[in-house]
């Protein structure tokens, strides 16, 4: 045991101090790029004579934010988009995961439904937005549904793939231990699918913002996507820029939350624990 124990401690404690300084350097470089970018954004367009209705400078965009808070209920719009993104994401994830596990458990259904799923996956989901508005009217429901529809597929595909690639020997082992089908699912297949499920959720988190934006662009009367069309109508380019930035931040927030969840779920994988 002693020999193996030494091997074990050697592999787990892989020189953290060097990692730390490298990470600090990376962080400094990332911030430097941001500073460079904002500086260029502030000073280059005026130098080239580009007017503010084409490219507003950084400071003009920042000045626009309090105006939007006062005149356009910015916080309400952010909340509206965030709520729709989250609701659509959760709804799409739940349905996508449920269908993925369901099809994974039933090869017959999977074979029969595979071509239709592929067709639905290829169909441009954003094109459904006008349809949902015709069906459900000018409220929050269409954008939630478009978001859910977009999020649905990557999660379904990832979960289904994971179910199909579970090590068959692991299933044989569980069967040899006289486990029932449901036990095999909950004790082997479901946990084994976690890395794929969380990878699907990460893709879904980035797509959720697209879904919400499209829903709001097409027929919304609230949300950041609506502010984009509104700003466009007013030739208020700074407002469009701000809305895009805020939507991006929203997406980063959602993605960060999913990534944090993933680190918690997959704590047992060495490469995720250290990243």
């Amino acid at each position: 045991m002693s020999l193996e124990a030494i091997e074990h401690t050697e592999t787990t404690s892989s020189s953290p101090p060097r990692c730390e300084s490298a990470r600090l350097q990376d962080g400094a470089a990332i911030i430097a790029v941001a500073v460079l970018f904002v500086t260029a954004w502030q000073f280059v367009p005026p130098l080239l004579g580009i007017p503010r209705y084409i490219i507003p400078t950084f400071s003009q965009c920042m000045v626009e934010i309090p105006v939007m808070i006062a005149q356009d209920a910015l916080f309400t719009q952010i909340f509206s988009s965030a709520w729709a993104a989250l609701a659509g994401f959760v709804l799409g994830s739940l349905f996508g995961a449920a269908c993925g596990y369901g099809l994974g458990l039933s090869p017959l259904f999977e074979r029969v439904l595979a071509p239709y799923l592929l067709a639905l996956q290829i169909a441009p989901k954003v094109a459904f937005a006008p349809l949902f508005i015709m069906w459900f009217g000018y409220n929050d429901l269409p954008k939630v549904l478009v978001t859910a529809l977009i999020v649905f597929f990557p999660i379904l595909v990832n979960v289904l793939q994971a179910m199909k690639t579970v090590d068959p020997d692991l299933v044989r082992l569980a069967r040899a231990f006289s486990m029932r089908r449901a036990q095999i699912f909950w004790k082997v297949e479901f946990p084994a699918s976690m890395p794929s499920l969380t990878a699907g959720l990460r893709i879904g988190a980035t797509l959720a913002v697209i879904g919400v934006t499209v829903g709001e662009l097409v027929g919304g009367n609230s949300g950041l996507g609506y502010l984009i069309t509104y700003g466009e109508g007013q030739a208020d380019t700074a407002m469009v820029f701000d809305a895009i930035i805020l939507l991006t931040l929203l997406g980063i927030g959602l993605y960060g939350a999913v990534a944090a969840l993933e680190r918690r779920i997959l704590h047992y994988l060495p490469r995720i624990a250290h990243s």
Binding site: M1, E4, A5, E7, H8, T11, T12, D167, D169, L170, R172, L173, A174, R175, A176, F177, S178, M179, R180, Q183, K187, V188, P191, A192, M194, Y268, L269, P270
Partner: protein
């Protein structure tokens, strides 16, 4: 002595997908294992060794013939039989204690009893200090010991070992064989070791069965009359080891030439 596992004229054919015609994996296989016996099945790759394991574990049914465990026909997975493979098949999301408990979760043992069994096997495998460790933190040898502990935790009458050492480096192999031999002797279970390593078969088994290439049949049975079944290293130093090795090796060679 009671017969623990018996194959009676067992054949298994598989319908070949697409190619047409069937593949006969094993044909007319007959042998039996007495209680507490350690038998090694030696054969070239693709001789149906894994098919044999599936049949004994109740995961597969023979096309003809009978497989009996403790005199009962095998109709499905049987709690008296447990197996382990070359891959340790530890669940990466469970710590070592959780992995050893895996096989116990199918049955309805009381919680105390499950915990006691896990502790017992951790101790027997000398892994008590690593009960809370994750599989990725362990060396290959430790992982295989944990896999054996999981196999023994269900208190099987027979354990089936499908090349459990073949993925390990030479040094670890020697250490692990000794560890396995001692553990199996201590647990007192009947063991069927599937291997393609002649030296391993002689060092560990009471009896060696040699299988032919596909369709697998038993072409030679050799009783290993050497002391130290619980210490393969001591056994491999026995002067008679060499002649047994030559005898078995010739049988394997002979069949290779037949194929070529």
């Amino acid at each position: 002595m009671a017969t623990e596992l018996e194959f009676r004229a067992v054949s298994r054919r598989f319908a070949a997908h697409g190619k047409g015609g069937a593949v006969t994996a094993i044909e007319g296989l007959s042998f039996s294992l007495e209680r507490g016996e350690f038998v090694a099945v030696l054969g070239p790759s693709g001789c149906g060794k894994s098919t044999l394991l599936g049949l004994a574990a109740g995961l597969d049914q023979p096309t003809s013939g009978l497989v009996l465990v403790e005199g009962q026909k095998v109709r499905g997975p049987n709690p008296r039989v447990a197996f382990m493979l070359q891959k340790d098949l530890l669940l990466p999301w469970r710590n070592l204690a959780g992995n050893i408990a895996f096989g116990l979760e199918a049955g309805d043992l009381p919680v105390d009893e499950k915990q006691a069994r896990v502790q017992r096997e951790l101790q027997r495998a000398r892994l008590t200090d690593f009960a809370q460790a994750w599989p990725h933190q362990l060396s290959g040898g430790m992982r295989q010991r944990a896999a054996l502990a999981r196999t023994l935790a269900v208190d099987p009458g027979i354990i089936l070992l499908d090349e459990p050492f073949s993925a390990l480096d030479a040094q670890t192999k020697l250490t692990l064989r000794r560890s396995f031999a001692a553990t199996i002797a201590d647990a007192g279970v009947t063991a069927l070791l599937i291997t393609h390593d002649v030296g391993e078969a002689i060092a560990m088994a009471d009896r060696v069965l040699v299988m032919s290439p596909r369709p697998g049949r038993i072409i030679e049975t050799l009783t290993i009359d050497l002391p130290h079944r619980d210490d393969p290293l001591a056994r491999s130093r026995d002067p008679r080891f060499g002649s047994l090795f030559d005898h078995l090796f010739e049988h394997l060679q002979h069949d290779d030439e037949l194929v070529a």
